[in-house]
């Protein structure tokens, strides 16, 4: 049967906050847009974001975007690109107002303005008093935003391909991306979408680790597609472990709990963050708090029969605060930890949460294919959201900056795509060889016979990543991890599916996802092994100091031969003075 083909001005892969905010700009400009998502849009993982989105609205305490910028640069441990960070912090303000105008049901202050709460790493006046910068809809901000963006896209009549799985990018001999091969999950039939521009908005890859706050769908699909298209990933060694996942399970307990006044205690009831971050205490940056918890447990101060977690104390807060500001958390704690936080503390331990690295882009959302910082971007290919690396988070992301990143850069990519399509009106000729290579990748899973199952290899892989690329990393442990993951990559050939039907075959899509996970996992493991310093979330007891002379640079990883290269951090902002690296204390 001939392969079905369709043509669009723009193809957006992913329907989370980044993809939907881009789609909205494009549909409003009457471009022909296809949004491809492997789940119905409101099931995208943006829906799970709890605490909020940062913007210096100054509704509660004094604030301005420049302080927000300082906090973000410091939070990034000076690895973030300061031009992109300035842009994001400035744009945060109109972006949040636009969301509100679109209908997001933000919580409100008595004067009718948007409610803002304190979050980790926030300060007034460049490192002074705690700020309150995180705009919140109770503890369901991601849900409120994602549903609103979907609603506005219904109004704008965006064309959705729901439950289509993106297999591979299609490219020509010059490396220009021509669209993607996608799979209709319900029928199992492939479809070729040709596009003048393509936006990757496929989200994160938390499923590379065994214990994660991330959804089943967060398998790094777009990142792996980029690797297979011979493009690099940047700064993949920087993976955020959120300090407060429900112990043993990984579900997220928002930083907003600590923002509202909750704090961490060890088995002796000591408020141990006072020791590690005397000023900011429980609202220090996430990397700092996560390391402190792991250290407490390693030093024998953990709670529970296995002494393997700490407690998040909330029951000193007014029940009304919990009901109004943290209703979802109360529910989650009851269901998954069996405790009512109004009465008892919540058992918590760090959980794999967010990848700071991703597809390298400039501050316009355009994908940068080389280590040459002044080099050309790849025409027509864009990336935004967690799959991308602009880089605004550097070595550690601040809470509340993730929703901000996806919204600001999703919207911006949309605007830049509109300009690009105005000047590039025709489709480039299709490259059949590239289509055939993608089809071969699909067909490989039709092989029958005896072999491993997808879930066997997936379990082995995720455990390996957890053991060898977690919160603390030392040379031997990581080198062993890289070798193990390389072996696991080879074992992919040994997998045989037992289900070869076409209708909604999740066995096959999960095999494709596992290929993606392993490619991305290796990018993380190899990049981590070679960075011989401690910076942000990348913490090496064998190299405990940050080394700006040698390592204030971005890592680039290519799948071919697991090659690495490096490029400079962009320290020059757009209009203000650069924040030079300083020791990072909270």
């Amino acid at each position: 049967m001939a392969l079905e083909k369709q043509r669009f001005d723009t193809l957006i892969l992913g329907a989370g906050g980044a993809g939907l905010n881009a789609a909205l700009q494009l549909a409003n400009a009457n471009l022909k847009v296809a949004v491809v998502s492997k789940v119905f849009p409101t099931r995208s993982h943006t829906v799970a974001a709890q605490g909020g989105v940062n913007a210096a609205l100054a509704n509660v305490l004094p604030d301005n975007w420049h302080w927000h910028m300082f906090d973000t640069v410091k939070g990034s441990d000076y690895l973030g690109d300061q031009d992109a960070i300035e842009y994001m912090c400035r744009e945060a303000i109109p972006t949040v107002y636009e969301l509100e105008h679109n209908g997001v049901p933000f919580s409100r202050l008595a004067n009718g303005k948007i409610y803002q709460r304190a979050f980790g790493g926030q300060s007034q006046d460049f490192g002074g008093e705690q700020a309150a910068r995180t705009c919140a809809a109770a503890d369901r901000t991601g849900h409120a935003i994602l549903h609103t963006l979907y609603q506005q896209n219904i109004r704008a009549k965006t064309q959705f391909y729901d439950e289509y799985f993106a297999v591979d990018l299609i490219k020509d001999d010059e490396g220009i991306i021509l669209g993607a091969l996608v799979l209709n999950i319900a029928t199992g039939e492939p479809l070729l979408i040709e596009s003048k521009t393509t936006l990757l908005a496929t989200g994160g890859c938390g499923q590379v680790f065994r214990t994660t706050s991330n959804a089943h769908i967060n398998t790094g699909d777009g990142m792996a597609m980029v690797l297979r298209a011979d493009l690099p990933l940047m700064d993949m060694e920087f993976f955020q472990f959120h300090p407060t996942g429900i112990a043993g399970k990984g579900m997220l307990i928002t930083e907003g709990v600590r923002g509202e006044g909750g704090y961490l205690i060890n088995k002796d009831g000591d408020r141990f963050m006072e020791k590690y971050a005397p000023n900011a205490k429980d609202l220090a940056s996430r990397d700092v708090v996560a390391r402190s918890i792991v250290t407490e447990v390693r030093d024998g101060h953990g709670c529970g029969p296995e002494a393997d977690h700490v407690m998040l104390k909330v029951n000193h807060l007014n029940e009304d605060v919990i009901a109004k500001r943290l209703p979802g958390i109360r529910e989650s704690a009851k269901i998954f930890a069996g405790v009512d936080p109004v009465k008892d503390p919540i058992p918590v331990f760090p959980t794999a949460h967010y990848v700071m690295g991703g597809i390298p882009t400039d501050r316009f959302g355009r994908v940068m294919p080389t280590a040459d910082d002044d080099g050309d971007h790849l025409p027509g290919l864009y990336a935004a959201g967690e799959c991308a690396c602009a880089s605004v988070h550097g070595a550690n992301r601040l809470g509340g900056n993730s929703l901000l990143d996806i919204l600001v850069f999703g919207r911006l990519a949309g605007h830049n795509i509109i300009d690009y399509v105005k000047e590039n009106k025709t489709h480039r000729p299709l490259n059949e060889a590239s289509v055939e290579a993608s089809m071969a990748r699909l067909d490989r899973w039709d092989a029958k016979g005896e072999g491993m199952t997808v879930s066997q290899l997936r379990n082995e892989f995720r455990k390996t990543m957890e053991d060898h690329a977690g919160v603390f990393r030392v040379e031997d442990m990581m080198a062993e991890g890289v070798e193990k993951v390389k072996k696991i990559r080879k074992k992919l050939n040994d997998i045989r599916l037992t289900d070869h039907t076409r209708t909604f075959n999740t066995n096959r899509t999960e095999a494709l996802e596992l290929e993606n996970l392993i490619d991305v996992g290796l990018a993380i493991a190899v990049s981590a092994l070679h960075r011989k310093e401690s910076r942000g979330a990348h913490s090496r007891p064998d190299y405990p100091k940050r080394d700006d002379a040698e390592w204030m640079k971005h890592t680039l990883y290519w799948r071919e031969s697991d090659k690495l290269d490096y490029k400079d951090v962009r320290v020059q902002p757009l209009t203000v003075e650069s924040f030079p690296p300083k020791e990072r204390v909270y």
Binding site: V39, V96, H101, H147, E331, S455, T503
Partner: protein
């Protein structure tokens, strides 16, 4: 623990059947974990799921006769043997996966987006905390479909009756002090079917995994209509 699950693959089965699996019930296990354990025994067993914490709304199923979200349903609250079926009244694509397109189409029918007629302010549109409170119990819907596929009125007239989910969404915008299309919204709900096929059977209230009350929302819309009519 014994599980009897609904199986149907249109490519290989002439008709649906129930298949039995035995699962070890470990502490803290949710229904989703059990379905995943079944999938490890038989890779061809198919269901939707994603976030695992009750916010994405992917894994609604019918379990022992009630619609629930698998990921937040503890096995301890289920009677052994557990019977798991797809949502009632929807066409089955495969196993527990149903076609929800009509459910989504009904949602779109209520114009589920904020509508303003006045020019927008430079900053946020102001809303008092009390006005914002009116949205609680309405905006949290995750569109899982547990309510509408438990509703007899929706089973009989899925093309004409909008169903509890869409009506809850209609109420969410009617209740929003920022929305300025109330009259048009009410006009669109006129007639014997769209809204008025609700016979307050209240299955939706029991089914909602978020503890929302669509019947109350529907009653609220009816009350506004009545007030407008007088």
């Amino acid at each position: 623990m014994k599980f009897s699950v609904y199986r149907y693959n249109p490519e290989t089965d002439s008709e649906p059947y129930m298949q039995t699996f035995e699962i070890e019930h470990r502490q803290g296990m949710m229904l989703r974990d059990a379905l995943l354990a079944i999938q490890e025994q038989d890779e061809s067993f198919t269901f939707r799921h994603s976030c695992g914490e009750g916010v994405c709304g992917s894994d609604g199923v019918n379990v022992n006769g009630s619609n629930k979200l698998a990921c937040i349903t503890s096995l301890t609250e289920l009677k052994d043997p557990v019977e798991v079926r797809p949502f009632p009244g929807r066409p089955v694509i495969r196993d527990l996966v149903v076609d929800m397109s009509q459910f989504y189409a009904q949602y779109e029918q209520v114009d589920p987006w904020l509508q303003r007629k006045e020019p927008l302010p430079e900053q946020e549109i102001l809303q008092t905390p009390e006005e914002r409170d009116q949205l609680d119990g309405l905006y949290e819907c995750i569109m899982c479909g547990c309510c509408s596929t438990a509703c007899p009125s929706f089973w009989w007239n899925p093309d004409k009756f909008l169903g509890p989910q869409a009506l809850l969404s209609a109420c969410r915008f009617l209740a929003d002090s920022r929305d300025q299309a109330g009259e048009e919204r009410l006009d669109k709900l006129e007639g014997p079917y769209k809204l008025f096929r609700c016979h307050t059977i209240m299955n939706c209230v029991e089914a909602c995994p978020r503890g929302l009350n669509p019947t109350k929302a529907i009653g609220h819309i009816k009350a506004i209509m009545l007030k407008e009519a007088i």
